[in-house]
């Protein structure tokens, strides 16, 4: 019975093969594409799903996990298998690549010299001298030639970009790093949302899926606003935030969209902005007879009118409409506000005034006449919160991949060997080279190198006043 490779060995070989990798890539691609065509669960509303698919179809899609492809167990398994395939393929091939880096092939053995595609043999008169000349030429070309001795012979070895041999492993390692970051985030990351009005602070995130998440600090909003372009479209949303720990303010920042607040590994993004519908302050001119006094009303406090008379905001509607004699609130934007003021005086009965700033009207039994000057609405800021511990692995992976790709595509591993040999026509200089990419270009530069060597050899021979060496050129 023939010797069988062990089962484990065969499994390893299969998983490490490029074919497996390609098949996994294809399956992943097809499945990922399916996820873009089939409506996915978290982002699509439940009733949109029921409208899009017939009930049996929807049940089947849910059961197979096709409605949440990217989080389905088999998708995660596919990604894991891809990771395993990358690891096995790298482990399988790395030792050979490392041997090239750690133990470069320096001495060109006869069988090597016989089969190397790019080589030349030049007839020379003085072998050792010629080797020296070649060494100088290689050095001038920017390479760092080393002398290799063995068997009583000296040869030259020069190489460039040795580490580019490992480029492929760098790229695949970076992929694994990114995958690892993704896995860490899949398990430990969380997102949330916060709504704050100026002055408000919080130490926890809004409950998501019923889970309330406390923050390791208190976040206070000190202000928020929106700036518009001349044509009215939003230009900027900003919020001033302060981080408070143990009673001390540790961090203050004004954030805008694309520029979050980062603290304790948690990021707060400017995400939304809107009107709460509450008013912050109202400025009015109060007239009684000939006297006019400007007052600022803040909800919850009373403003002094004169003597013992005070006024307060009893009710505020930012945008009202009347229907069937009832007043309703249409929206939270201060389009058509209505303010109910309550004027109190211990000596008299309470009187009331309804103010409609948009039309500058007043109704009610108050003796004072109020004229609307200005008001400040209270806005809220919507902050997106996220904690992604794995992102550092992802960014490190991206940078590593960039390095790996530059090495893989643009750095060429070149090797040169020079040796003095005995050919049938006398002493000769053998020069060989190999480049792992872009061979046509290196064919040309090798030819140029040979020409340079020939020229230098000619000069040497001139110096020795010996006729110039004949050339045996072997293609």
């Amino acid at each position: 019975m023939a010797v069988q490779t062990s089962f484990g060995n065969r499994v390893f070989r299969t998983l490490a093969s490029v074919k497996t990798g390609i098949i996994l890539l294809i399956i992943l691609g097809v499945v990922a594409a399916a996820g873009t065509v089939i409506l996915q669960r978290p982002v699509t509303d439940a009733d949109q799903m029921t409208r899009a698919y017939a009930p049996p179809t929807l049940r089947w899609l849910d059961a197979t996990g096709l409605t949440d492809v990217y989080h389905a167990w088999w998708f995660v398994l596919l990604m894991a298998m891809l990771g395993v395939s990358i690891i096995f393929a790298s482990v399988d091939r790395f030792p050979k690549a490392w041997r090239m880096v750690a133990h470069p092939y320096r001495r060109p053995e006869p069988h090597f010299r016989a089969v190397l595609p790019m080589q030349r043999t030049l007839a020379v008169d003085h072998a050792a001298n010629a080797v020296g000349v070649a060494e100088t030429v290689l050095r001038k070309a920017g390479l760092r030639p080393q002398r290799v001795t063995g068997n009583g012979e000296t040869s030259i070895y020069a190489e460039k970009n040795r580490f580019s041999v490992l480029a492929v492993y760098v790229v695949h390692a970076s992929l694994l790093l990114i995958l690892a970051g993704g896995i860490v985030d899949a398990i430990w990351s969380y997102k949330g949302y916060l709504m704050l009005t100026p002055g408000q602070s919080t130490a926890k995130l809004e409950p998501q899926n019923g889970v309330e998440r406390p923050l390791p600090f208190t976040l206070r909003c000190d202000g928020t606003g929106q700036e518009n372009y001349p044509d009215g479209t939003p230009r900027k949303w900003w919020s001033k935030l302060t981080v408070i720990e143990d009673g001390r303010e540790t961090l203050k920042k004004e954030i805008v969209v694309n520029d979050p607040l980062v603290t304790h590994g948690i990021r707060f993004y400017q995400s939304g902005y809107g009107q709460t519908g509450e008013v912050e302050s109202v400025v009015l001119n109060a007239k009684l007879g000939a006297e006019t006094r400007q007052i600022t009303l803040v909800p919850g406090t009373r403003a002094q009118l004169d003597g013992e008379t005070t006024v307060r905001i009893a009710e505020f509607i930012p945008d009202y409409v009347t229907r069937d004699g009832q007043i309703y609130m249409r929206s939270k934007d201060p389009v058509n506000p209505a303010i109910r003021l309550e004027i109190s005086n211990p000596a008299k009965a309470k009187s009331e005034a309804w103010l409609f700033p948009a039309v500058q009207q007043q109704q009610g039994d108050a003796t004072y006449k109020f004229e609307f000057v200005d008001m400040q609405m209270a806005a809220y800021t919507g902050l997106q919160v996220s904690h992604e511990p794995g992102q550092w692995a992802v960014w490190a992976g991206c940078i590593l991949m960039a390095i790996g790709m530059v090495m893989a595509f643009y750095l060429v591993h070149q090797r040169f060997w020079v040796m003095a040999i005995e050919s049938k026509n006398g002493p000769a200089l053998w020069i060989g080279t190999v480049a792992d990419k872009n061979r046509e270009h290196f064919q040309e530069s090798f030819t140029k190198l040979i020409d340079d060597i020939r020229v230098e050899l000619g000069k040497e021979n001139e110096k020795r006043r010996v006729p110039a060496g004949k050339q045996l050129v072997r293609a």
Partner: protein, 469 residues
């Protein structure tokens, strides 16, 4: 097959070949002069739209000369076309520069600006391919495309609009620049792979089948908008605000242009006909189907042009009823950029096939060797792939800063990743499995098809966060 029917090329006498050159030269001079006169009154000579118009004139001249080459085979046309392209490119660069200067940011924020950048990239690639790769006929493809794009741009709102908060980010500029460069490199690799197939002696019939297949897919895509009773749905357009009309957030109002669906259905059948004839002839092992199939291609081109005309006439400035709301709603050509792109692509591909059919021997003479093209395709993908990777990484970083998540499996993100996987597959098959020649070329073509889907298909057919372009 094609050789039997091709005529022996007689190079036309020098005097008649000068005729086209003189005509084009005069045309350029005349148009430039007229434009200069009308513009000099306004005082502001060097603004973006004037410079763009100037580049349009020169690109138009270049296109005419390249197409002239396509029809007659005279080499001199290519030389002068190259000069015209260069002048047009200079004007285009000035136009882009002017817009950049006025807006304070590179031109990437809306579809008008993307087309402007695209046209610039087309001209740059044409000149690069001619000078560096010595492929002198690539202008036959790129210049007519550039001219069509500039004409299309005139339909779109071109005012420099300030950026909404989410787009105000340096990382966005980086991401979009990388995307343009990556897609341009992929497009170039596609063109090189197609040229390889020509030089690799792939039969003209196969090209016929593929072109017919492509046009059929385009019309099938358009016919997803086919409504009951033969109408075609397009998006409604608010001419006053120069934007689409929405029913609610993210849901656009569609109006139905009556009968246009039948027109497109007819053209679909005509475009599928050559493919059908090809398939039938292969099955029946008939050899003399080729002339019939080519006649079908002519007919389909004529019908495609008619369909384009019909669409332009009916979708230009008219109001139609909607299935979603009561009353009449207007639409404009600016509301249907993808349908227009599809129609023009179909006509374009069909005309390119015709040029191959008529001028194959000339092309084979002017293009580099198959082996050379195979290597250049690989080198181009060696540029495209790192650019794609950097584009995805920059996009992820931008998304992280704006939406708090570097990867949300958004359709555009997912398809960008799939594109990356396809090109990774190409590299693996080539480097590790030694795939060369035909198989590598097919892979490169597949890669570009996926790029096109990522760029157009996702926006047109699938919704998502990437709502900006």
């Amino acid at each position: 097959m094609s050789r039997a029917t091709a005529k022996i090329e007689q190079h036309p006498a020098a005097s008649s070949s000068n005729g086209l050159l003189v005509a084009v030269g005069l045309g350029i001079a005349f148009l430039t002069f007229v434009a200069f006169l009308s513009v000099v009154k306004q005082g502001n000579l060097f603004n973006e739209s004037n410079l763009l118009y100037l580049s349009l004139i020169f690109y138009g001249g270049a296109s005419a000369l390249y197409i002239g080459f396509g029809v007659t085979g005279v080499d001199r046309y290519v030389k002068f076309a190259s000069i015209a392209t260069t002048i047009g490119f200079v004007a285009n660069t000035l136009a882009v520069g002017h817009r950049w200067y006025i807006a304070g940011r590179p031109p990437f924020a809306n579809i008008y600006e993307m087309l402007l950048s695209f046209v610039w990239t087309l001209a740059a690639l044409t000149l690069l391919a001619e000078r560096k790769y010595k492929v002198k006929v690539i202008g036959t493809v790129t210049m007519p495309l550039a001219v069509t794009s500039v004409i299309l741009m005139q339909l779109l709102p071109s005012t420099v609009r300030p950026l909404v908060p989410a787009l105000q980010s340096t990382w966005l500029q980086i991401h979009v620049t990388l995307a343009m460069l990556a897609y341009a490199a992929c497009a170039l690799s596609f063109a090189l792979a197609m040229m390889f197939l020509i030089q690799d002696k792939m039969k003209t019939e196969t090209f016929l089948a593929s072109t017919s297949g492509l046009v059929t897919m385009v019309y099938l895509g358009i016919l997803t908008r086919f409504e009951k009773w033969g109408g075609l749905s397009v998006v409604a357009w608010d001419a006053q605000h120069k934007e689409e009309i929405s029913i609610s957030k993210g849901v656009k109002l569609m109006v139905t242009i009556p009968d246009l669906g039948w027109v497109f259905l007819l053209v679909l059948l005509a475009s599928a006909a050559p493919l059908g004839i090809y398939a039938w002839a292969k099955w029946r092992k008939q050899e003399n189907f080729f002339t019939v199939a080519n006649r079908a291609v002519f007919i389909s081109i004529v019908l495609q042009i008619i369909a384009l005309g019909a669409f332009v006439l009916r979708a230009r400035n008219a109001a139609y009823t909607s299935l979603d709301a009561e009353g009449f709603y207007p639409t404009a050509l600016a509301a249907s950029p993808f349908i227009l792109c599809g129609l023009i692509t179909g006509i374009f591909a069909s005309l390119l096939y015709l040029m191959l059919y008529w001028r194959r021997s000339d092309l084979e003479r002017l293009l580099p060797t198959a082996d050379g093209l195979d290597r250049i395709t690989y080198k181009t993908i060696g540029i495209a792939f790192p650019l794609l990777t950097a584009m995805i990484a920059a996009g992820a970083y931008w998304a992280n800063r704006t939406w708090g998540s570097y990867w949300s499996w958004d359709p555009k993100e997912t398809w960008a990743a799939i594109t990356w996987l396809v090109y990774a597959g190409y590299l693996h098959m080539r480097i590790t499995r030694g795939w060369r020649g035909r198989r590598a070329a097919y892979f490169a073509i597949l890669g570009f098809v996926v790029v096109m889907f990522t760029f157009f298909g996702v926006t047109y057919l699938l919704p998502g966060l990437h709502a900006y372009s």
